[in-house]
């Protein structure tokens, strides 16, 4: 069977303000990824657009970029779109539907609607539309605020523990020239930042930015002809709408609970050299630590307090600064964990290189549920060497 691998990836410069539209950013990221891999445009025959508010359908977008492809789709899985796009590309390649698939996401800030030929509002599901928005929605911040309050109240999770997540990632960001937030930050800065959706503070919230990232997935056979070595893909699992069948779903449980045994069956937690976790809030990191099984449920805050997950620690997390310190370029934000994994595994991470990094775990999370927590969770192993089947 064909084995799909990652050939390479690239990111544009990230910025707070830009005049460019989403498709321009995506095109730039694709060009940069072609440069990174040496793959010519004529060889690209599949494309996944991580896009939820672009008016154009995926086949039209391929047409606008001059890409005649055998396979295309939009990934509409919120923040999980990026990691999922790679999983979808792997499936397409291994099924023989395409040979070289570009996965791309990003763009300008969603609130700059004048940059599109037609304004499309952010996707709002039925429950938000009729049963949340009429009350005056405070956005995902207000739902994460509910999760964080319940976690703090139930398990005694502290602001100091949450702050340590942000402060650690900020230290990593200081070593990343493309991170937008690089100024040193203290736990007091975190605690004293203005309240947005109590207990969510300004320094809990991811900052929207402009930019894009593209990742190219292809067959191992094709990748071996390229200048740089491929990145191998190990176990992958995803879960949607966990708890949707329950009458009283727990707002503190994510779908990772359902897929963690599968995720760590072949590659063990202790095999990991690093983790790059989707971090739109420090609370999201604490939830992932516990739901992925690195500690008991509710002990994520304590785990953060007791463990060194910086570049100096045994299991560094979010070594490029995370989305919290880099910025969130729309649905391309989910590629930040992926592209940093590729750099670490290739030994291209410069001042933040983890010595002899061989295996890493990346996660994707997306969309907030009316009743539970995250609607989507997914995880993927990436490695320098092939994974055993």
């Amino acid at each position: 069977m064909t084995r799909a691998v990652i050939a390479g990836a690239a990111e544009t410069t990230f910025s707070r303000k830009s005049e460019k539209a989403d498709l321009q950013f995506m095109a730039e990221a694709i060009r940069l990824a072609m440069d990174d891999t040496g793959i010519p445009k004529s060889d690209i025959n599949g494309i996944v657009f991580c896009a939820n508010v672009l008016p154009d359908d995926s086949s039209y977008m391929a047409e606008h970029l001059g890409l005649a492809v055998n396979w295309t789709m939009k990934a509409d899985y919120g923040g999980a779109s990026s990691v999922m796009s790679i999983a979808r590309a792997v499936e397409a390649i291994e099924a023989g539907r395409a040979d070289v698939v570009v996965c791309v996401g990003g763009g300008n800030r969603a609130d700059f609607t004048d940059l599109h030929h037609d304004a499309v509002s952010p996707p709002i599901d039925y429950a938000h539309r009729s049963f949340i928005l009429p009350y005056g929605y405070g956005g995902p911040n207000s739902q994460f605020g509910m999760v964080q309050r319940l976690h703090m109240e139930t398990y005694g999770t502290t602001l100091e523990q949450l702050g340590k997540v942000s402060v650690t990632f900020r230290k990593h960001a200081a070593l990343n020239d493309n991170a937008l937030l690089r100024d040193p930050m203290t736990i007091d800065d975190y605690i004293n930042s203005p309240l947005i959706a109590d207990p969510i503070r300004k320094l809990d919230c991811v900052m929207r930015c402009a930019g894009a990232i593209a990742v190219i997935v292809t067959s191992e056979e094709y990748a071996k002809k390229l200048a740089k070595p491929p990145i191998y893909i190990g176990t992958y699992a995803e879960k949607h709408s966990a708890g949707a069948q329950d009458q009283e779903p727990d707002r503190l449980l994510t779908g990772f609970i359902d897929i963690r045994d599968q995720l760590f069956e072949k590659t063990k937690r202790e095999d990991l050299d690093f983790m790059q976790l989707y971090d739109d809030y420090p609370m999201a990191i604490i939830k992932q630590i516990e739901d992925l099984g690195f500690c008991d449920l509710g002990q994520g805050g304590k785990w953060v307090e007791e463990n060194d997950f910086s570049l100096e620690g045994p299991l560094p997390i979010n070594t490029s600064g995370g989305i919290l310190s880099i910025g969130q370029p729309r649905l391309g934000g989910g590629y930040i964990p992926v592209i940093e994994s590729i750099r670490q595994l290739r030994g291209e991470a410069g001042p933040r290189q983890i010595k002899d990094a061989k295996i890493g775990f990346v996660s994707g999370i997306g969309l907030m549920s009316y009743q539970t927590n995250l609607v989507i969770t997914c995880g993927m192993m990436l490695g320098k060497e092939p994974f055993n089947d």
């Binding site: 039925y126 429950a127 539309r129 009729s130 049963f131 949340i132 928005l133 009429p134 009350y135 005056g136 929605y137 405070g138 956005g139 911040n141 207000s142 739902q143 994460f144 605020g145 509910m146 999760v147 964080q148 309050r149 319940l150 109240e153 309240l195 947005i196 959706a197 109590d198 207990p199 969510i200 949707a244 069948q245 009458q247 009283e248 707002r251 009316y370 009743q371």
Partner: protein
């Protein structure tokens, strides 16, 4: 920006009709007895379309909440900050809502008893439950 009004869809007609009469209701499956909120096209347990909108007591407690200081929709800014509450009704289902009286937000705690009251939203033609703290 105007305040959004819920839009009726085929499966939630009775919910909005009950709301106009000041009644909070939720679907109960007539095949498997499951009760759920928000309205769904089918029973989330057995996928049956055989449901009725059962009247609820409106009595419950605060499961969790956040305080919204930056509403996404500018037409709510003059009301901020306000509590965004997740309420567990005594019938064993949960719903998202707000307080009738923001003075209740000052000392709001998880576990506080609350009682529903149907109030108009959006253009005033639809009603959703808001909650008062039971003191």
């Amino acid at each position: 920006m105007t305040r959004p009004t819920p839009k009726t869809v085929p499966w939630d007609r009775d919910y909005w009709a009950n709301g106009e009469k000041g009644i909070l209701s939720a679907q109960r499956c007539q095949d498997c007895d499951r009760l759920w909120y928000y309205p769904k096209p089918v029973c989330p347990t057995c996928m049956s379309e055989n449901f009725i909108y059962e009247h609820l007591s409106g009595a419950g407690e605060i499961y969790t909440f956040s305080i919204v200081r930056r509403p996404e929709n500018p037409s709510f800014v003059d009301e901020a900050p306000y509590a965004f509450i997740d309420v567990r009704l005594d019938e064993g289902i949960r719903l998202l809502s707000r307080l009738v009286d923001e003075a209740d937000a000052a000392d709001l705690q998880i576990g506080d008893r609350v009682q529903a009251e149907m109030l108009p939203v959006g253009d005033g033609t639809k009603f959703l439950p808001y909650f008062r703290k039971v003191r």
